[in-house]
Symmetry: C2
Subunit: 443 residues, 2 copies
């Protein structure tokens, strides 16, 4: 189906690993990235981990001719790290900050300070309204015992909500970024199933890049063996996803990734590989919309709904695990606070006794008294802050759980229209063999 | 135009003033509210300041028969306070937390802890998709010297963004809540002009309620004279807004407010008056959409765009004022932190001198030493936290300012298609005679 009304759009996505003074060869790598981008002239460039606005402004200056339109999404203490450069005029932008994003006291992981978010830019691409999203989810530091999994699942949930609710008026939806999730991870299935986004790597007609489309590879000199864990060759966690609409069909003509090195340079652009997807946007005439396209059968719709119910139920189970954990942590904080308070009262009692009964006969241990008082106050302050933090975490997790329960019940309501589809074998299963939790509709 | 396909929807909105143990007669008022709601059987009930989830659950139980579907929007430390009760099934919910919401150290104002947000519920009303929003913006404590104005303007900005971007697929848009803004306030004009939302009070065919539709009135026994300031009769800060679409026309048949008292009860439902709007939703057939409706002339569209440019520019000026203020506060925090650090070093030097030179000959002033050290640490900790907080505030304000600049430039681009419309006299002006800032397109 070759159409005269087709536009080719080259989309680029890269996690720049741009922590000033901490990331290796940061200024040199930014110079390389700027050079490459101005040479390659991609239509849409989606960058993550541009942690310093100065680096963004530097890139903006360098790309002023090739990519006259750009936006840096601000959020949190040190920014969201998200930036977009494009040839198309940006008509509108919007940013959604995820409600959960790690813990402030896990400073060595640093995710909390980043204020992770999803940024949206509305572009006009060849007469079509394109909603372009760029995001970066919480990192996975230990796959076996991933304490951030509930946070990442809630982020994926909020990401799909944001995309679904904001893209109703869009003809084209494109999402690029570092999702920090393997292709079959729960959050990824949740995102793709709910939004209907398609994976460029799986849909592309032609691919040139790392084996299995991996974007964090052992061959990259910035990657240590430890980071990859059991996946010794590498993992695929960066994506370019897209979605057609009734007004436009999207095809991925080709896709490529960098392969851990850059010709004529001593090191690669980043610790992540860069992704480039060549998308072909074909406008559909209104007449075409109904007649020309294969209409979905009842069965496939019901199958998709049933699959979605399974995935949301699985996500809900994961969020519940996070809820129990946050409750336990909050309880520990409260208990420690009570202990600190008890210690303070004990100390005051000890101080009051010699003052009342012994007078000035015995020397009062001032130093130990003050040190202990300081310790008590420090305990009280820290545990109070932690209690507030865990309360906020609980609220967010409960909020997501509520929404998921509502979604499952609404999906099941829809599913009742297709009696043939139940019982059902979900077509995709998690490779880790995670059992989806039993579903008890509570509302 | 009477249509067979019309649905009547009664929408109710009330700020419940539900701070447990602090708001006057809280349990009695909740009992009154529950009783009234179950008797009146409104189709959609939008509540604000339901700060305790227990109170929500109590209402939910009481309204189980009349309003089987409900949702409580969770956010922040003590929740967003937002709840929706409805006769229609809730298909989907989404919540957006405002990036700015006062200061945590202004504990007596308490807004920061509330985690103010806008909640959205997707309902199916007589075959139409209705996006129903409920929100509560930051309170205004002193109109003459309103240090929260930039925060409220950014909240209004984010509210209009959220509604605009999420309602593209909706046939009907309804917003209810306590906006804490007078009808002609900057944030209100920004919200209404950008989204095209209409004010039930201004559009209603029939009105029964307080003079000028006021919702915070002197006749309410919970309201003190001080709270109303120069507006001795009262102010209008609660609204029910709505928007038609190409698929449905909305008309407000009647509107009413409570008048500061409830028959047979010693006090009213809340310190705010309750709003009820009777909306008539008329489905438009696809044929009607183009032909039957008066098409907007070029002139009116251009006028609307030019007005919008003025309002966004005014909002940008206000955000810039907030930016300067936040920068100054951050600078003060940094300077105080440096002073705390200098004091600590000075103390260490004083401590080192007798230890090095005088040995144990002179008694060391332990008590003062420890007290001073504690003071230094307290200063350092507080100022560091404040510095981080102001940095986040700055990022949010800068982000909003960036988006506003982009919006103005995009609007002006559109406006260039209507050369006749410039120069232009904006039809609505702020009553306070605030001068909109000069506009310098920087991008």
């Amino acid at each position: 189906m070759d159409n005269a009304d087709s536009v080719n759009v080259r989309v680029f996505s890269l996690n720049c690993w741009g922590i000033r003074y901490l990331s290796k060869h940061c200024p040199q790598r930014y110079a390389m990235i700027g050079e490459m981008l101005s040479k390659e002239e991609h239509d849409i460039v989606l960058l993550q981990e541009v942690w310093s606005e100065k680096d963004y402004l530097c890139l903006k200056k360098k790309l002023a001719c090739t990519h006259p339109h750009s936006h840096y999404f601000k959020s949190g203490v040190i920014g969201s790290g998200l930036a977009i450069f494009t040839k198309y005029r940006i008509h509108d932008t919007f940013v959604y900050r995820y409600s959960l994003n790690g813990y402030p006291y896990m400073a060595h992981h640093g995710d909390w300070f980043g204020g992770k978010a999803v940024g949206m830019a509305v572009l006009n691409v060849g007469g079509l309204t394109a909603n372009v999203y760029v995001t970066h989810l919480h990192a996975e530091y230990c796959r076996e015992k991933d304490s951030y999994l509930p946070h990442r699942v809630v982020q994926a949930w909020e990401l799909q909500q944001f995309i679904r609710h904001t893209s109703a008026g869009a003809d084209v939806v494109i999402l690029g970024g570092d999702l920090n999730m393997h292709p079959q991870d729960l959050g990824n299935r949740l995102l793709r199933s709910y939004t209907g986004l398609q994976d460029s790597y799986l849909e592309t007609a032609k691919f040139d890049g790392c084996e299995d489309g991996m974007t964090l590879i052992a061959d990259n000199p910035f990657i240590t063996e430890k980071e990859l864990g059991p996946f010794d060759k590498g993992i695929r966690i960066d994506y370019i996803l897209f979605k057609s609409s009734s007004k436009a069909d999207i095809h991925c003509d080709s896709m490529s990734t960098t392969k851990g090195s850059v010709p004529d340079h001593p090191f690669p652009y980043s610790d992540h590989e860069a992704l480039t997807a060549e998308l072909r946007l074909e406008s559909c005439s209104p007449a075409e919309t109904g007649a020309d396209r294969p209409s979905k059968t009842q069965d496939s719709t019901a199958g998709r709904l049933a699959e979605l119910v399974d995935i949301v139920t699985e996500a809900r189970t994961e969020v519940k695990v996070g809820l129990h954990c946050a409750e336990r942590m909050r309880y520990t904080a409260a208990r420690t606070a009570v202990m600190g308070l008890a210690l303070l009262f004990l100390e005051l009692a000890i101080a009051a006794v010699p003052w009342l009964a012994l007078g000035a006969e015995q020397p009062f241990p001032r130093t130990s008294f003050y040190l202990l008082a300081v310790l008590c106050f420090a305990i009280l302050l820290t545990t109070s802050l932690l209690y507030i933090f865990y309360t906020m975490e609980l609220k967010s997790l409960q909020g997501a759980e509520d929404q998921m329960r509502l979604a499952v019940s609404s999906l099941q309501e829809k599913l009742r229209g297709f009696p043939l589809a139940q019982p059902h074998n979900p077509p995709r299963r998690p490779p880790e063999g995670q059992e989806p939790g039993a579903f008890h509709p509570e509302e």
